[in-house]
């Protein structure tokens, strides 16, 4: 592996941890990824998961659904036009997705995974073949819905959670950084 500039290593790591937060299958995985972000927030595994579920998973109505289609197509529905557009993008990027038709491709965790892998190619492997697709994915897709997702999540006042606000602010920083960073040389 090529040596990464520290700032690029951090950029990738933060992206990976956020990805892992949204893809966590249980409280342990969630806590591990959360702690890796150095939040300085002290919270138990269980409390973290309870708050995460209240915001993003359910079973009650969530604060902010982590699906692009909810913000771009219809606030009540996933697996719609945007999901299929993202599916098409992944296929063009050379990905397969074992949860196809099970978890929509435009779930935030999956999208962050795609973005992380594409950025990794460029930053760690110095392969730029998919760079145009990464930028397209960022500017024509992620940047269109994540701000609305953040707005909804950060507007939450009842049961407001410092940990969730931290996660959302990290995501916000990441989005700002990525959308304002040009391709690294």
């Amino acid at each position: 592996m090529q040596t990464l500039q520290p700032q690029n290593s951090q950029r990738l790591d933060e992206l990976k941890y956020l990805r892992d937060i949204f893809n966590a299958q249980n409280s342990k995985e969630l806590k591990r990824a959360f702690d890796a972000l150095d939040s300085l927030i002290s919270i138990s595994e269980e409390d973290l998961e309870v708050q995460f579920n209240r915001y993003f998973v359910g079973p009650m109505e969530t604060v902010a659904d982590p699906f692009a289609s909810v913000y771009l197509d219809n606030p009540d529905v996933f697996m719609s036009k945007t999901t299929l557009h993202v599916r098409d993008l992944y296929e063009t990027m050379g990905f397969t997705y074992s949860l196809k038709n099970v978890v929509p491709e435009d779930h935030l965790g999956v999208e962050l995974d795609a973005y992380y892998q594409l950025l990794f190619l460029e930053e760690a492997k110095e392969i730029t073949y998919l760079s145009d697709l990464r930028h397209y994915f960022l500017h024509e897709h992620l940047a269109l819905w994540i701000p609305r997702f953040l707005e909804r999540g950060l507007a939450q006042s009842e049961h407001a959670s410092a940990a969730m606000i931290f996660i959302l602010m990290q995501l916000k920083s990441l989005l700002i950084r990525e959308t304002t960073t040009t391709r690294s040389s």
Partner: protein, 758 residues
């Protein structure tokens, strides 16, 4: 930013560009450099020119399994594994290519962002809202451990209770009851909140509940829609009613409420609630006095006509009928005589009418009127209520044996249900039955052993059962409440574990109707989303964990395939009735049972084999052998409250979807203008509707569709709203139901309230 949007879109949208791009991707070594995650490098990258245009639809056969007369046959269109739209199957002359707005919203329902996605456990106590994701294995192991612990401590599993009703009427969903049978003798919430008094009434009169094919109504010469509102709740039946009307038939709606169906009728007759039976008795007297009754049919096919006529002669005074029902005598006479003169003539009786303390007696009185008029056993005639004549499946998923050595309840008969009955064989032990219509109280009061675990499936207890405050206390007292559902509702809120359940599009099943005569295969059209499972798969997983902890503790198969389970439900009788050789023929579309006219051969399944005006069974069970006038429950508050179904939901299903929320976002109390004026309430005012049971705050809508003295509130679940009309309903029983369904119904429409402006 250094990228070309146009270039990327060309790759995405132009087949040649994409092939070239993918070839480069395969050759560049990119794929081997991807770090991998949820997404993996595609090692079998297809570098042929991809088809960018519209992909073909795959089609699947589905059925709407909701508790609805219409049980639509559906054709589902799927592209790349994603449901695109559904339509009513053209092959069914009943569904005839169309679904209702609820059915047409199925794509939005399946892909609703609000669906339950994962098994979850409420860690902060019931109602805390603190939920944790758990694996299926963890959830089922937790439940299995609890069951085995209870069995060890109590020596029986009667401490485990099941409440399941009409959320999904697919035949394999009786596997939920099968799951409970397979663990031992348990406690069941038995009976039906829906239609039991009427079922008993029809069984007392005719030995069965068996209605003519609704498609025949197109040839009826006179149709009375009595307390039924098909324009709202059985929309597919309306085309036959319209056709009959077009051909000259008279369509009369008798209802306390001016309904959508009333607006389409030739005549609307507003009757005072709970007096329908008396009206039918009066009408019978009129046609007998006019010698328009069918004496020949009555002589050949009935028992007790003489006693019935003597009762009418002695007890039924037409002036009183008019006074009590609120209908002018001339109108009653005209109605009775014109019905008797039209042949064939038919009456469709709604289920709301029998949700009274005298409900069964009213259905018996109307049956008797139709019999007197000579319209029983006739094409396009009949006293229509419902039927289960096409439900003769194997109930393989239901029929599970008890584990060896199971200990249960002694001395009482087995569970009854109106759709599928468990074996009635005499056994040393049985399950314990609790009245489903008194769920809160019965669960709380059950002793030796007390109920500690409750499993809720295909049912939203907090929306459909009574006495919410008591229900909360009951749920809180239970050690473990498991709710298997598709959406998070008020019942799930009070659960310890919620299990996400598949929609019909994610499993195989087979469906028939309690109204029409079609059978529809339900194919799995898409993969189950997230971690949802069908009810029988959940049962299998429970069995796996029970047996892992204690071998032989559960007899349910430990691994199931919903297609194989569905195939097991068919038998030669079903094939013969529907004129097919194999279930596979259903892949070509729904099929209809061979035509049969109920009771045309004059054979009734009553003890006498005849239509029984005089029923010894009725005398034995309900103290009244004849169809006779029974006064409805006396008011205990100022206004009667009626809580019918709305057209925007199916009980608590569908209302939480976008289209329905858009059209009908919140509950209202519908009040007559005179009553509103007396209480100084104006349209849109927030009012309190209250009685000894509880209080609801709702907005008022003022309409003379509702008669003075009545407040109407629809029964349904509104998302993000704790409104539940049943908070005002006590659990007073209707007169009948215990004969055929195990428990009497609930006199829902004999609820009384007061209201005031807030």
């Amino acid at each position: 930013m250094s990228y070309s949007k146009e270039k990327v879109e060309s790759i995405l949208n132009n087949g040649i560009s994409r092939r070239s791009f993918l070839k480069g991707l395969a050759a560049s070594g990119v794929l081997t450099s991807l770090p991998g995650g949820i997404l993996q490098a595609n090692e079998d990258l297809n570098t042929k020119i991809p088809y960018i245009g519209q992909k073909n639809y795959q089609t699947f056969r589905n059925a709407c399994p909701r508790n609805c007369y219409d049980t639509c046959s559906i054709k589902t269109y799927v592209k790349d594994g994603v449901m695109q739209f559904i339509e009513g199957a053209q092959e069914s002359t009943y569904t005839r290519g169309g679904c209702c707005v609820k059915g047409n919203s199925y794509v939005k329902r399946v892909y609703s962002a609000r669906r339950l996605k994962y098994p979850m456990m409420q860690v902060g106590g019931k109602g805390s809202g603190n939920w944790k994701r758990v694996s299926w294995d963890y959830a089922m192991e937790t439940i299995a451990k609890k069951l085995l612990e209870m069995k060890k401590e109590d020596g029986t599993l009667l401490g485990a209770a099941l409440t399941k009703y009409s959320g999904n009427f697919g035949i394999t969903h009786y596997g939920v009851e099968g799951m409970f049978s397979s663990i031992g003798y348990t406690t069941r919430l038995a009976g039906t909140p829906c239609w039991p008094a009427g079922i008993d009434a029809q069984n007392l009169d005719m030995g069965d509940m068996w209605c003519n094919d609704p498609e025949e109504m197109k040839d009826s010469k006179f149709i009375i829609l009595w307390g039924v509102n098909p324009a709202s709740n059985s929309v597919h039946s309306m085309k036959y009613i319209y056709e009959a009307k077009k051909k000259g038939a008279k369509v009369v709606v008798i209802d306390p409420i001016f309904t959508e169906a009333a607006s389409k009728a030739s005549q609307y007759i507003q009757i005072k609630t709970g007096t329908d039976g008396l009206l039918a008795l009066g009408m019978a007297k009129i046609i007998i006095d006019a010698n328009l009754h069918d004496q020949k049919w009555l002589d050949a096919n009935s028992k007790g006509y003489k006693e019935y006529k003597a009762y009418l002669d002695k007890e039924i005074k037409l002036d009183n009928v008019s006074k009590i029902t609120g209908i002018p005598l001339a109108m009653i006479k005209e109605l009775a005589l014109s019905f008797a003169k039209a042949k064939p003539a038919t009456i469709w009786m709604g289920y709301g009418m029998q949700r009274h303390t005298n409900g069964g007696s009213m259905i018996r009185a109307i049956d008797a009127f139709v019999a007197v008029s000579g319209n029983i056993g006739k094409y396009a005639g009949g006293a229509r209520y419902g039927h289960l004549s096409t439900w003769g499946f194997n109930y393989a998923a239901l029929s599970q044996t008890k584990p060896e050595g199971s200990v249960g309840y002694t001395g009482l008969s087995s569970i009854k249900g109106e759709f599928a009955k468990e074996s009635g064989e005499k056994a040393a032990y049985t399950d314990r039955s609790l009245n489903i219509n008194k769920t809160a109280r019965e669960l709380l009061n059950a002793k030796e052993p007390k109920v500690r675990l409750l499993w809720v499936a295909c049912k939203n207890v907090f929306s459909q059962d009574f006495d919410r405050n008591q229900l909360i206390r009951t749920f809180q007292q239970l050690d473990l409440v498991v709710v298997a559902d598709q959406f998070f509702n008020e019942t799930a809120k009070w659960a310890d574990i919620v299990l996400p359940v598949a929609t019909q599009f994610e499993e195989y099943d087979v469906n028939v109707s309690y109204w029409h005569y079609w059978m529809t295969l339900n194919e799995q059209a898409i993969k189950p989303l997230f971690e949802v499972k069908s009810d029988v798969e959940i049962a299998a997983l429970l069995s796996k964990h029970m047996n892992k902890l204690e071998s032989g503790s559960c007899t349910f198969p430990q691994s199931v395939d919903t297609k194989a389970m569905t195939i097991k439900e068919f038998n030669p009788g079903i094939y013969e009735q529907f004129g097919i050789k194999s279930w596979e023929e259903l892949k070509n579309g729904p099929v209809k049972a061979k035509a049969v006219i109920p009771y045309a051969d004059g054979k009734f399944k009553t003890p006498s084999g005849k239509f029984e005006f005089y029923s010894d069974k009725a005398l034995e069970l309900f103290g009244n052998a004849l169809p006779s006038y029974v006064e409805v429950r006396k008011p205990y508050d100022k206004f009667r409250m009626t809580s019918p179904h709305s057209r925007w939901s199916l009980h608590s299903q569908f209302q939480n979807l976008e289209w329905m929320e858009d059209m009908h976002p919140e509950p209202y109390a519908y009040i007559n203008p005179d009553d509103a004026e007396a209480k100084m309430v104006q349209e849109g005012d927030t009012i309190a509707v209250f009685n000894k049971q509880g209080l609801l705050r709702v907005k008022a809508k003022i309409t003379d569709n509702v008669q003075s003295g009545t407040v109407l509130l629809y029964e349904q679940w509104y998302n993000n709203n704790i409104y539940n009309v049943n908070e005002l309903v006590d659990d007073t029983s209707s007169d009948m139901g215990a004969f055929k369904t195990g428990a009497p119904g609930v006199a829902l429409h004999d609820t009384f309230v007061n209201f005031r402006k807030l």
